[in-house]
Amino acid sequence: MKKLLKYVHLLLLVIGMTSCMSVKAYQKMYLNDTEMELASKKVEVFETNFETYREGAAGANGGKVGGGCGCN
């Protein structure tokens, strides 16, 4: 587990070092594809909701953190 957490830490640091990569608007054919969106898909909203209820661990994916008891 400690090893995995080290990798997460390392990934965050690597991400911190990557920046300023400039891709022009006309070069974004692939990046603008709907499937490349950096968020959960809209159709996944119901799954995020039941996973929030069925798992003690939740969040960091745009899911609900309040506004419903989640008691069923």
Partner: protein
């Protein structure tokens, strides 16, 4: 919090602060490059979403960790975004879900109880304003959620900054939820048990950073800080003890701190295949540590048709207040037999299919004053199975219709 957990959180926060500082400097750079963020178009976009979900298991929290967890839920959501002009827009997110639950029917074992079926209605209204030259968007939102024994109102603010010609984006969102229970105790315990409060408050701070890495690869990091207080247990959950015949209701602390950090990496390696990956680390002060990994591989079968098999794995250590049926001791301060808080693995797998013809599925010419055209742009469906190592099994089918008026 363990030291390596703290290190990850500190790194994520430092990264966010660095990004924010860089974003401030980059406004001048954007101006130099002549870059300006996209203004709103006149197109009104909407989505109609619908879902059917069914689960069953044998660890019902209402009956103290034994008994049925059967639940059926039918939900519908409508989302619409209306641009008011090139910089202002309003959004609506609302819907309702109907559920029937054999588990909550056991609140009252003598007759069918109020919670055996219920409807939850919810809506959020938002307003966003862009500063095109600075690459900034400011948002404000307010919402509510109502069901038979639970009401919630929420409010929130958001700030988004894009720079580096739209290749970098930082979003900061703060939300507050003010909830209230209509307390329903298990039938046989009414008059014998009580709770100090019926309210719950949640404050949620979220930082999202996204970065284009090259023409085919981009990534996003999301860190959240959630502070909850008030009634965090469920009043009709029973707990049976090892040293006592009579049960009690679930008792949990009145404060909870949750910290999830997620990383998303999307890659378009070849022309008809995309890799969508996601990892989340989760920590909370109830003692739950979770790891979640997701992968989806959308495959372009034809110009309008995409099929994406997906798989999700989740693992969590249980809350320190959890124990199974007749395991808790009555001398403990906090206790729960809700298996959602237990140690388990879960697997979810299924398929997404999206049909999105270039000129839409359905088109109605100039329906409003001869000015606008209604378009059904695409249809997307998702079916899947969810299996938890505690024995809970579920399946679902969801539908998304993409609509527009332009």
């Amino acid at each position: 919090m363990k030291s390596h957990h703290r290190q990850i959180l500190i790194t994520a926060l430092l990264l966010s602060i660095t990004r924010l500082a860089y974003a401030q400097e980059s406004t001048a750079s954007n101006k130099k490059q002549g870059y300006q963020m996209k203004p709103n178009t006149t197109e009104i976009e909407a989505n109609f979403l619908s879902s059917y979900y069914q689960q069953d298991g044998n660890n019902g929290a209402v009956t103290g960790g034994i008994g049925t967890e059967q639940l059926t839920d039918i939900a519908n959501i409508f989302i619409v975004n209306v641009p008011l002009d090139s910089i202002n827009s309003i959004g609506f997110y609302g819907g309702a879900d109907y559920y029937s639950s054999a588990s909550t029917d056991n609140i009252d074992t003598y007759s069918s109880s109020a919670s055996s079926s219920d409807v939850r209605a919810f809506a959020t209204l938002s307003f966003n304003r862009k500063n095109l030259k600075a690459g900034e968007t400011y948002g404000i939102r307010a919402g509510f959620s109502v069901e038979y024994d639970y009401t919630s109102v929420s409010t929130g603010l958001s700030y988004t900054k894009e720079w580096n010609e739209g290749n970098s984006e930082l979003n900061i969102t703060g939300q507050a939820f003010f909830d209230n229970w209509l307390i329903i105790y298990p039938y046989e315990l009414r008059g014998d048990v009580s709770l100090p409060t019926s309210s719950r408050r949640s404050f949620n701070g979220q930082v999202n950073f996204s970065q284009v890495i090259n023409k085919r690869l981009q990534m996003g990091i999301s860190a959240e800080f959630v502070k909850m207080s008030g009634l965090l247990s469920t009043p009709f959950h029973r707990v049976y003890f090892n040293d006592l015949t009579a049960p009690d209701i679930e008792r949990l602390p009145e404060n909870r701190l949750k910290i999830p950090v997620g990383v998303r990496l999307n890659y378009y390696p070849i022309d008809n295949l995309i890799l969508r990956t996601y990892y989340r680390y989760y920590w909370d002060d109830f003692g739950i540590v979770g790891h979640t990994f997701e992968i989806e591989t959308p495959i372009k079968l034809a110009s309008a048709l995409t099929a994406g098999p997906f798989y999700r794995y989740h693992n969590q250590s249980g809350a320190k207040y959890f124990a199974s049926y007749e395991t808790h001791l009555s001398s403990e301060l906090f206790y729960s037999s809700d298996y959602d808080l237990s140690t388990f693995d879960s697997h979810k797998y299924g398929l997404t299919i999206r049909y999105s013809p270039l000129y839409g599925l359905l088109r109605s010419n100039k329906i409003i004053s001869g000015q606008r055209t209604f378009l059904m742009k695409y249809i997307e469906t998702r079916v899947g199975i969810y299996r938890r190592s505690t024995g809970l099994n579920a399946y679902f089918i969801s539908l998304n219709l993409g609509l527009s008026l332009k």
